[in-house]
């Protein structure tokens, strides 16, 4: 018989805490909405036959959805930064910034194993691997730039005090047009990121059997005992305790 039945001892590890999972999905949905509405704002479709302007407001509504979602996106992001300080070892902000040599070494390993596939043995990492962490760090920078440019250009359209706090950034860039240009370019960063991100999570699930795909829903990953140990040894945080909620 060709069917393979193997028994291995797997442990559940609670990796992504509830706030992290909520953050992830709220972020994903809001970026999707922001990209779709943003794209429409930048490239509105041609309508050649229509009622007069008095009876229609669809472009205004698209913009409204963009701005409303922008607030959700922004405060959700702030929440995640906060959680980077109080969350568990996998959520810590220190994971995301490559301070240590070991992190850079891991980046090379990840490139060898997962990307160019020179090495066969899969790496075991329960949180983000170092390359992923750096990529997320870049997205965080993009989030910041997106918020600065977005609220900066929004300040011209709103009387509320909040967007007015961002006008300095538009000034720094030299005006609304460069700010808008940067805002538009960064959308493509998110699109490219999303393609790679979705593909790679599927890839990891496909070859590694830790349950990465479902982990962002339930929070658990599955690991053999020795995997778990290896992971904790290489962790950037000393004496990291596992927190559960």
């Amino acid at each position: 018989m060709d069917t393979q039945i193997k028994t291995a001892q797997y442990k559940e590890v609670y990796v992504w805490e509830t706030p992290v999972r909520f953050y992830h999905w709220i972020n994903a949905i809001s970026i999707l909405i922001l990209s779709v509405t943003g794209y429409l704002i930048g490239n509105p479709p041609a309508i050649t036959q229509a009622v007069e302007a008095s009876y229609s407001y669809w472009f205004g509504i698209v913009r409204f959805i963009h701005f409303a979602t922008a607030y959700v996106f922004f405060f959700n992001f702030l929440m995640r930064i906060y959680w980077g300080f109080v969350g568990n070892q996998y959520a810590r902000w220190t994971n995301f910034i490559p301070f240590k040599k070991a992190q850079w070494k891991e980046v090379v390993d990840v490139l060898r194993v997962d990307i160019v596939q020179l090495q066969e043995k899969p790496l075991v990492k329960l949180g983000h691997n170092a390359l992923a962490s750096i990529t997320y760090f870049l997205t965080f920078i993009a989030f910041v730039l997106m918020s600065l440019t977005g609220f900066g250009i929004y300040s011209a359209m709103s009387d509320s005090w909040f967007p007015q706090q961002f006008t300095w950034f538009v000034h720094l860039l030299g005006g609304d047009l460069p700010a808008r240009q940067l805002h538009h370019i960064l959308m493509w960063f998110f699109i490219v990121f999303a393609i790679i991100h979705i593909y790679l999570t599927i890839y990891h699930d496909y070859v590694e059997r830790h349950g990465v795909l479902s982990s962002m829903i339930g929070g658990w990953k599955f690991a053999k005992d020795e995997d778990k140990k290896a992971d904790q040894d290489s962790d950037t945080i000393e004496n990291a305790e596992e927190k559960t909620i």
Partner: protein, 369 residues
């Protein structure tokens, strides 16, 4: 000499304008400046009691469209009195004197009214190669500006050239054209932006300085808020078409005839701060958008480099003029997809091997037991 210096009002009357004309002028200026009724009274009083403000108007690297705009102001008092006949002590293009006489007049004004006169600069300052690209009467423009700024009460930078360098500062800026606020140190500089600025805006700024003796509120780019706090887009009469998503697709289509929004034709209204939609041009007759042309954003820094004018997105830096962010983004997306396809193939080969080696192990285990 005990004789009182004639006030602005005296000079206006001497030119043959009635008091009624004068009050109308004040009312108009007050409205443009957004003053309340008491502010207009203050203005009337100021013009009645204060002597005229001495002005020195310098021309550097420019095309004189700012002067042209000013003398076409909708109210005769602006051009006739404030500029031509009364106030201007020195301006190359409009004064009768020429050559040494003119230079002498400038020197005389600078000495006589030290600390009192207003310096108005039209044009940018080339700083490259010791400033040889703009020399007037044997002096570089940089020197002239600095000298004149020294005794000035305040400096007004007319237009985009003086405020941000305009076309001569466009990439690659061969003469290092520099705006006035980067040349003059230690004096307040008001940037009256636009290529050219609207005449009423120019007059409004001068009248404000004369009336209140202090700078108008400025935005972060040094532009008077009274005229530059709102975008063209916020005051544009085509805005309902924008909100309804009704856009001109090409200059000769039916939508253009219907007067739909020019956003997709590259209109810079959404990113440009100016009063064109309110005050308009040529005595309030029209403004670019009203005549069917998108705004090119002439009151913003670097507007020449943010082209092409007729597309919504500027070209992407470093990729030639017809490539914008969307072209680059799409190309990147395609490259990513290709990479992923290759990777997926490699992964499947690897996974197959993994499964097969699993089978081998299983077989071995089976034979062992």
């Amino acid at each position: 000499m005990s004789r009182k210096k004639p006030t602005v009002y005296d000079e206006i009357r001497a030119q043959g304008y009635s008091r009624r004309d004068f009050l109308k002028f004040c009312g108009m200026m007050g409205a443009f400046l957004g003053l309340e009724a008491s502010g207009i009274t203050q203005m009337v009083k100021a013009l009645e009691t204060k002597p005229r403000l001495p002005l020195i108007w310098l021309h550097g690297q420019e095309c004189t469209c700012c002067s042209e705009s000013f003398i076409r102001s909708s109210h005769p008092i602006v051009a006739d009195i404030l500029l031509n006949k009364v106030s201007l002590d020195y301006t190359e293009t409009l004064m009768a004197a020429a050559g040494h006489q003119a230079e002498a007049a400038r020197q005389a004004t600078m000495e006589k009214y030290k600390g009192e006169y207003l310096l108005l600069v039209e044009g940018s300052v080339p700083t490259k190669d010791d400033g040889v690209y703009c020399v007037i009467g044997g002096k570089t423009f940089e020197n002239i500006v600095n000298e004149a700024a020294e005794g000035a009460k305040a400096v007004i930078a007319w237009g985009n050239c003086a405020s941000s360098g305009c076309v001569q500062a466009a990439n690659p800026n061969p003469t290092s054209a520099t705006p006035i606020h980067k040349i003059v140190k230690g004096k307040p500089v008001i940037n009256v932006q636009g290529c050219p600025p609207i005449a009423e805006v120019m007059a409004g700024v001068v009248v404000h300085l004369l009336t209140f003796d202090r700078l108008p509120q400025l935005d972060k780019h040094g532009r008077p808020k009274a005229f530059y706090s709102r975008r063209i887009h916020d005051t544009c009469y085509r805005r309902p078409n924008y909100d309804a998503g009704l856009f001109v697709e090409s200059f000769d289509d039916d939508n253009a005839r219907k007067g739909y929004c020019l956003y997709k034709m590259g209109c810079r209204g959404p990113v440009t701060y100016n009063s064109c939609g309110v005050i308009k041009w040529n005595n309030g007759v029209s403004f670019p958008i009203q005549s069917g042309h998108p705004c090119i954003g002439c009151s913003e820094a670097n507007f020449w480099d943010n082209g092409p004018f007729y597309s919504h997105l500027p070209s992407f830096p470093g990729f030639g003029i017809e490539k914008n962010a969307d072209d680059i983004g799409l190309a990147l997306g395609a490259i990513t997809a290709t990479g992923i396809a290759a990777h997926a193939v490699a992964t499947n080969i690897r996974k197959r091997r993994l499964i097969q080696s699993g089978r081998m192990k299983d077989k071995k285990q089976n034979s062992n037991t």
